[in-house]
Each structure stands twice: as C-alpha cells, then as structure tokens.
C-alpha cells in the first residue's frame, strides 16, 4: 500500500497520505512532509522526541501536528523519518518521532517547507486518507 503521493500545485506542493487507520495516515503525512525536506534513506534514528498536539477538531489536529514537527527542524535541525502515534483522538495526538539531527556530511536536504496550510486540507475518515498543501 502506498504511504503517500504528491499532488500537483503551481507554486507549492500538495500531499495525499494513506493508512490502514487514520493515525497511520497522519504518520504517513509527516513522513511525506519530511521526504520533501530531505532524502530520508540516510536519516537514522539516533534521536527521538515525544510530541503531543491538541486542536479543536481533526483538521486542526493535522495542521498542528505537521507544523509542530517543522518547529523541531527549525530549532533543533531534527529530521524525522519514523512516527509512532501512540494516542490518537479527534482533538489530541501523542507520538514518538524518531530521527536524527541534520548533518551536512551525511544527509541531503531538498526543499524547505514553510508551513502546512489549511487550503484544501481534508481528513477522510472513511478511507483513512488525508490531503494537505504545503507552503514552500
């Protein structure tokens, strides 16, 4: 099963992410986002962070989840490659995110992501898939 795929957008990049559960689709959306930022094959799992986010609804939760992870990249230059979502509700999720600090000698960065946006953001509960457009 495909974890995610990119969708065309003139100035930015869109992403569809899939899962057997909605939590898995959220995790795959995060993986998709970091695959825009860096070549993830070379990113190990030396570091992990527990990330907890809350929002008023499920769409807000997706927005908040992805943008929280960008914060870690900006502040700690952490690249995440694997996401274990341990608790998942409509308005709250807890995840343990595994990755590594960016090291220019081993990692290849690709494209900067400024933010996830609400534009065309969609959470499809029936099919366990989500759509998000990033500001690049």
């Amino acid at each position: 099963m495909k974890k995610f795929e990119f969708i065309e957008h003139t100035s930015d990049i869109g992403l569809m992410a899939y899962g057997k559960t909605l939590a898995e689709a959220f995790a795959n959306a995060a993986g998709g986002m970091f695959s825009i930022i860096a070549e993830l094959d070379s990113v190990g799992e030396a570091e992990s962070r527990r990330v907890e986010v809350c929002a008023d609804d499920i769409e807000g939760l997706l927005f908040e989840w992805l943008n929280s992870l960008l914060y870690y990249f900006d502040v700690e230059t952490l690249l995440f490659s694997r996401f274990d979502i341990t608790e998942f509700e409509d308005t709250r999720l807890v995840a343990v995110c595994h990755g590594e600090k960016y090291d220019s000698s081993r990692h290849r960065l690709k494209t900067g992501v400024k933010s996830a946006t609400y534009h065309m953001l969609e959470v499809d509960r029936e099919n366990n898939q989500v759509r998000v457009i990033f500001d690049i």
Binding site: Y71, K114, Y118
Partner: protein
C-alpha cells in the same frame, strides 16, 4: 488541477472582471490585471477561484484584486490585494502569508560590468560564504537573552545600532524598516525560538542574492534620482523574509482565528482565509505580532546587506564609499497595513492585504522617503534567475485603482515537481552558465525547482502593470551572478 471555468468579463486590454454574481456571497467583484496572452495562463489553474473567494471577506471594498503575476496560492492567490474597512472589516493572516514581510531590496554601486566580471566567481563565492543560506543553515548573530524583542520592535534600526549597515539605510526602507504598533508579547515563545537561530540567514526556496547589471533605462530622470546612472552599472539584490519566526506567527494566528470566527459570525469558503474583525482583540493581537515578524524580516535583510557590502568591498579591493554601495530601496511584498485611501470619494481607513504584491505609492505621498517625493516610491520586481528584474515607481493610478499596489515578481507558471521531471539542477546550472550567469546554490534540486522556465516572463508581468498605469517602468537589470538559498 482542472482549468478554471468561472465567469470572466474583459474590461479592457489589461483588465478582467469576475462579476459579483459569479458566486453567491461575493461582496465585491474580482479584478484581474492581465493581457490576452496571460489570462489564458491565469485560468489554467484555480487562482481566479481564490480571487472570488477573497471577495467573500467582510468589509472588503473596491474589488478583490489580482496583480499580473497572479498564481494559485493557498487561500489567497499569490499576487492578491484586498482592502478591508477598519471600521467593520477583517484582517486575515492568510492574506499576508506564512513568510511575513518577504521582501526585496536593491543596492547601487559605482562599478560597471567590465570592472566586476573578471572577479565574478570570487565575488559570488564571497557572498555565498558571507551570508548563511539554504535549508538548515544557522545565523552567526548571537542575541542576548531578551534581545529578540528589541529586534521585533526596532527592526532595521536594531541592526544598524548593532553595527549592521548605516543609518541612511533606514531612510530608504519601506516603513524605515521599523513598522510601528508592534506587540512582542503577542509573538509566541515558539516563534521566537524559531527566529533566534535564523536571524541573518537567507533561507531557501526562491530567496536569493543577485549581482545584476542595468541593461535598459526607461525614465532617466527617475533612475538618476535613485543613483542608477548608466547602462552597465552593477546592482545588488537581496530577497528574503522572516524565516521560521514569521511562519510560526502565521500558524499561531490562523489557528486562533479559525477558533474565533464563529464568535463573530464569520464564514469563509476556505479555512485558510480565516479572519476576524480588524478591531477585535484577536485582530489587534495578530497585527501586533505580524508587525514584529515584519520588523524581524527587515532586520534580517539589513544584516545581510551589511555582509554583502563587506564581501563586495573585500573582493573589489575598495572602500564602501568608493564602491558607492547605497541602498536604493527595500520593499515588502507580504504584509497587511493600515492605510488611508479614498473610497467612493471619501477618505477611509483600510487594512490593505498585499500577498505577493508591492506597495506603489505615487510622487508626493507623505509615506515615501523625501528623496523620492518627486518621482514616486521605487518598486522592485525581481524576475527569475535567467532573465531580468525591473525597477518601477508608483503612480496616482495605483492609488485610484489598487490601493497603491502593483505586482511583486514573475509569478510561477509550472509546479516544482513538473520542473524536476523536466530538468536537473545541473542542466539549469549549465544553461545559466552558458548565458554568462554564475550560480552558487545550496541545493541542486532546489535549483531545478527555481529554473527560469518555472516562471512567467517578468517582462510580460511588468508590461501589464505599466500598461494598466498602476506603476511606471524606470529601468531593467539582468543577472550576472546569483546565490540561491
């Protein structure tokens, strides 16, 4: 994305209207600046739908405007201008964008192409090392604890006081690089944490440093006032924004506004248009925080300017004054500002959102530098890496029609993934080198995404802005070397 098939009426050679009755809920019509050729590109994606959606927002006056570099964004189209009454209208963080006060500045020099070209490789390397750029780069400025708040309040002035640049740089920066009405307490801890290590960095994406050469002057008098004296003269551009700090401020307030909208009975066709009354507590908090991010961006460009000057003088072996490195002007193209404009013959306070649009105030306007009072505010329109950039001035027509606004750049035409499928970064590098343009880039794939072919021809964009009278062409420059973030 499907072609847009909405209602569009041709007004004249440069103007297209989306009538108010196209969608129920539009409060004003949409107005797109484009010629016959460009409008076909514009309706190729959903940008016009975004222009129509912005017309839903409470308190919007005139039209929901789209400049000729319009392209599909998120929420607002890029190249969008929307003015809302302060009395009963809204402010929308989506109408500013995530990169608050992304903007561009241009410096003049006394040097000619012939003098700089022999050292161009050395120069571009020096610029590349002087200015941290690219994804994951960290700045070299160490802030004292709490000093970030000073950056947010004073903007460029903070930088000049710290020794980055000269006091006269402030006179030729929009808002003097220090927009008033800031409220650093409204900037979250997360935003500050993101901003502190990134101060004095260029970032990635379409941000750049450019060494350019004047290749045509259309208005010699205005050009002379700006210190653009002759064809062949070397100019330096800096294009960047507010980095992670601005992105976090936008995130924080979009969230807050989504939450607050029901309280004010506001409904929007796209959540990314989330907005609240300008005069509400949430609206004031956003404007206070947004202005902080704007000042951060001005401080950022000011620090970078200083390093660009140092590197340039070192490589050319001359002093700053011999090199004649004066800042011509600095404009922001992602911002919301409270301005006075005439609406229906009456002066009105408006919140003007410019998202990928530049202020274009005319000669005699009190908000432009003394130096430019007779010619109008300089406007900087960077094009892609391979073609050209333009310097324009603001006009009365812009005041009448577009709330003193015009275009901001070339405007994207093709998606990033489409470009990467077509070209590799190495192809782009080779093609540019063959045209005599030296490139230093942080990322090769980033280079492919930013290839000249990804953009509209900035010459077409400027022709429409000039033809419609919302700004006037002064000069054109061509790149000879570019540092891409």
């Amino acid at each position: 994305m499907p072609k847009w098939e909405g209602k569009l009426e041709k007004v004249d050679e440069f103007r297209w209207r989306i009538p108010k009755d196209y969608k129920k809920g539009m409060r004003v019509p949409g107005l797109i600046y484009a010629d016959e050729g460009m409008i076909r590109q514009v309706i190729d994606d959903q940008a016009p739908e975004q222009v129509a959606n912005v017309a839903f927002l409470p308190g919007i006056v005139g039209s929901s405007l789209a400049m000729p570099d319009i392209h599909w964004g998120y929420g607002f189209a890029i190249g969008g201008v929307a003015a809302m009454r302060v009395s009963d209208g809204v402010v929308s963080p989506g109408g500013v964008g995530f990169d608050i006060n992304c903007g561009v500045r241009i410096m003049r020099t006394n040097l000619t192409r012939e003098e700089v070209t022999p050292k161009i490789k050395e120069l571009i390397d020096a610029l590349f090392y002087a200015v941290p750029s690219g994804l994951g780069s960290k700045g070299k400025i160490k802030l004292r604890s709490g000093e970030i708040d000073e950056v947010l309040i004073k903007g460029s002035r903070w930088a000049v006081e710290r020794g980055y640049g000269r006091p006269e740089d402030l006179e030729t920066t929009e808002e003097s690089g220090e927009i008033k009405g800031t409220d650093p307490q409204r900037v979250s801890g997360r935003a500050k944490e993101r901003g502190i290590p990134q101060l004095g960095t260029l970032g990635s994406g379409n941000h750049f440093l450019e060494v350019a050469v004047v290749d045509e002057i259309y208005e010699p008098e205005a050009a002379e006032v700006m210190g653009m004296n002759r064809v062949g003269q070397v100019m330096l551009y800096v294009h960047c924004g507010s980095r992670g700090l601005g992105h976090q401020v936008a995130d924080d307030y979009i969230k807050e506004m989504v939450r607050a909208m029901p309280k004010y009975g506001i409904e929007v066709p796209d959540r990314q248009l989330a907005c609240v009354p300008v005069d509400s507590p949430e609206g004031k908090n956003y404007l206070g925080a947004m202005r902080c991010a704007a000042n951060y961006a001005w401080a950022n460009r000011q620090c970078i300017t200083h390093w660009v000057r140092e590197a340039f003088c070192r490589v050319m072996g001359m002093s700053e004054s011999d090199a004649g490195l004066q800042l011509i002007y600095d404009v922001t193209h992602n911002i919301a500002k409270i301005e006075d404009h005439e609406v229906g013959g009456k002066k009105e306070k408006l919140c003007v959102h410019r998202k990928g649009a530049t202020r274009a105030f005319p000669a005699g306007h009190p908000d432009i530098p003394q130096k430019y009072l007779k010619i109008g505010q300089p406007i900087l329109i960077p094009g892609d890496m391979g073609r050209a950039s333009y310097v324009l001035v603001g006009t009365e027509q812009a005041m009448k029609e577009t709330f003193g606004s015009t275009c901001h750049g070339a405007g994207r035409l093709r998606s990033r993934s489409a470009m990467k499928k077509q070209l590799s970064g190495r192809d782009v590098l080779a093609a540019l080198e063959a045209r005599g343009i030296t490139i230093r880039a942080g990322s090769m794939s980033g280079l492919a995404e930013e290839a000249p072919e990804a953009y509209k021809d900035v010459g077409d964009v400027v022709r429409v802005a000039h033809g419609a009278g919302i700004s006037k062409k002064v000069a054109r420059t061509r790149p000879i070397a570019v540092v891409k973030g």
